[in-house]
Amino acid sequence: MGALELRGVTKNFGKTEVIKGVDLTVNAGEFCVFVGPSGCGKSTLLRMIAGLEDTTGGDILLDGRRVNDLAPARRELAMVFQTYALYPHLSVRDNMGLALKQAGASRSEITAATDRAAAMLELEPLMDRRPAELSGGQRQRVAIGRAIVRRPKLFLFDEPLSNLDAALRVATRIEIARLHRELKTTMIYVTHDQIEAMTLAHRIVVMRQGRIEQVGSPMELYNNPANTFVAGFIGSPQMNFLDATALGLAPGRVGIRPEHLTISRGTGEIPATVSHIEKLGGETLVYARHPQHGMLTVRLFGEHDYSVDETVHLTLHRERMFEFDPAGKRRT
């Protein structure tokens, strides 16, 4: 029995089907990330778990109990929103304590809980400020603190880092990972950023158009994608897709990650023309064009020099390539 179970969950907005039957079990203490392009239904699914959206069909079970008709506040979960959603008229302390106050906790319990959460997130100096007096990163830490205070059975994160700048995003990501290690509570985290998914998750749920495409650990998805969508979505820079017939294989496509292509000025399987080069210091990305395969990305470690329009030869590591049938499914 999982901490959260979804059984054939569907959702319609009017006549449009946004969630088309989702089955999923999230184990207790797991960090599960829903990832997918915008509009894939991942946020809607999260809001359905929270009880903020009605379920059209199927069952949602928390700890084995069906919660479809339970109000959000009674599902014993906490949610962190992309826009922080702090109450503008309350101080940080009151923001964090409101849920407990609503639940009828005593003042000393509330103070103890908020102080503990504040200590975890180093919010003590900010406790008497209003949200308007905080920076974006501080606001998101308060929002996370508000979630911790309730000691929920399940944490829900709805793209919590999307409004933060790059440096803060990394810092907050590490903080969330640390919190999960300390609290050991089940967490569900929605993001469109596959790097966040890869770095945080125990298990990633890749969604597209209201359906689950694949569920697995980050490395399972990376090393064993079920179809071209998952293969292209996980990993950065994106996987290269080549024409299989041109390589003398059964019709369909062949996927190869940029790091599994070698480049040479002398000889190789695929001759291509360099069209762009990105030097990042630690690695170099070479974009080369081939008339049949299109644009191919090669990832090289260290600094390398190629000039635009130069002809190069690329070689595939055959043991690292993935074969897909014309429908995009992985060939086994």
Binding site: F81, Y87, P88, L98, A99
Partner: protein
């Protein structure tokens, strides 16, 4: 170059606005200065300022002694404040429901409620009077409050619904997860955030109610339910009009609305310029 162009534009804008202010305030100014003059001085020199020779408080004395002007003021205030309260409360609640909940007929309901903006309520005067007679509300302040609430609601709902749509969904959802009731979400999260819009609606609702002569005259003309605007009519006769008293009554009638306006004005400006000024 650019700075100079904008200075020129600023001067032009100010000139236009000042001219408009003068035109708008001139009648008020004439009423106020003449209310402090003797009858003779009003007719001799209507535009003259009250000087030692022409200064006279006879108008104010008449108003305060003849008729029960304090009662009229009280009636006007009760009607205006009670109607304003009802319009803001029910208008905001309806706007919240329309903007927040998905239910069958939502759009239709919104259109129906906004219809009143285009149809003047006075067209229904006869039916309203019949209803008030049937329910025994003629010559009560309740009749006026009900009518003014109905009159103010359409615009209030229309404006407030637009503003409420702009309140973050995440905030309301956070409240729901923390266990706030829909009423608490409405009163303590949403209403404070649409306060500028509420002030705008309050001003636009309040002034027509305060100034109205039509409904008090028809629905509540009795001595103890008269409003100020109706009370001032006693000084206007078919043959003789007591101008001192009329002008004094009107000058006095400006004060309470002015006070209410000043209370709302800071919020009002924010409400009107929301979105227009970044």
């Amino acid at each position: 170059m650019k700075a100079r162009a904008s200075t020129g534009r600023t001067i032009a804008a100010h000139a236009v606005l000042l001219a408009y202010t003068l035109i708008a305030l001139f009648p008020v100014f004439v009423i106020v200065i003449n209310s402090f003059k003797s009858r003779k001085a009003i007719f001799a020199d209507p535009l003259g300022l009250p000087l030692p020779g022409s200064f006279d408080l006879v108008g104010y004395r008449t108003v305060l002694h003849q008729g029960d002007f304090f009662l009229y003021f009280q009636n006007s205030l009760i009607v205006t404040v009670a109607s304003l309260f009802c319009v803001l409360l029910f208008g905001a609640m309806a706007a919240f429901a329309l903007s927040e909940y998905r239910f069958r007929g939502n759009t239709l309901m919104g259109l129906y409620l906004a219809l009143g903006i285009m149809i003047p309520i006075r067209l229904g005067t006869v039916a309203i009077l019949e209803m008030m007679v049937a329910s025994g509300l003629v010559n009560t302040l309740t009749a006026l409050i009900l009518v003014y609430t109905a009159q103010g609601l359409p615009l209030a709902i229309f404006i407030l619904a637009e503003f409420m749509k702009s309140v973050s969904d995440d905030l309301k959802n956070a409240g729901r997860i923390d266990g706030l009731s829909e009423y608490r979400i409405f009163f303590s999260l949403v209403l404070p955030l649409v306060r500028p819009a509420m002030a705008t609606v309050a001003v636009f609702t309040m002034i027509p109610i305060w100034n109205d002569l039509w409904f008090p005259l028809i629905l509540a003309p009795a001595e103890d339910t008269k409003t100020v605007t109706l009370g001032a009519q006693v000084f206007i006769g078919q043959f003789v009009t007591n101008w001192n008293a009329v002008l004094a009554a009107l000058s006095l009638a400006i004060v309470p609305v002015l006070v209410l306006y000043l209370i709302f004005s800071r919020q009002l400006i924010r409400g009107i310029t929301a979105g227009a000024v970044k």
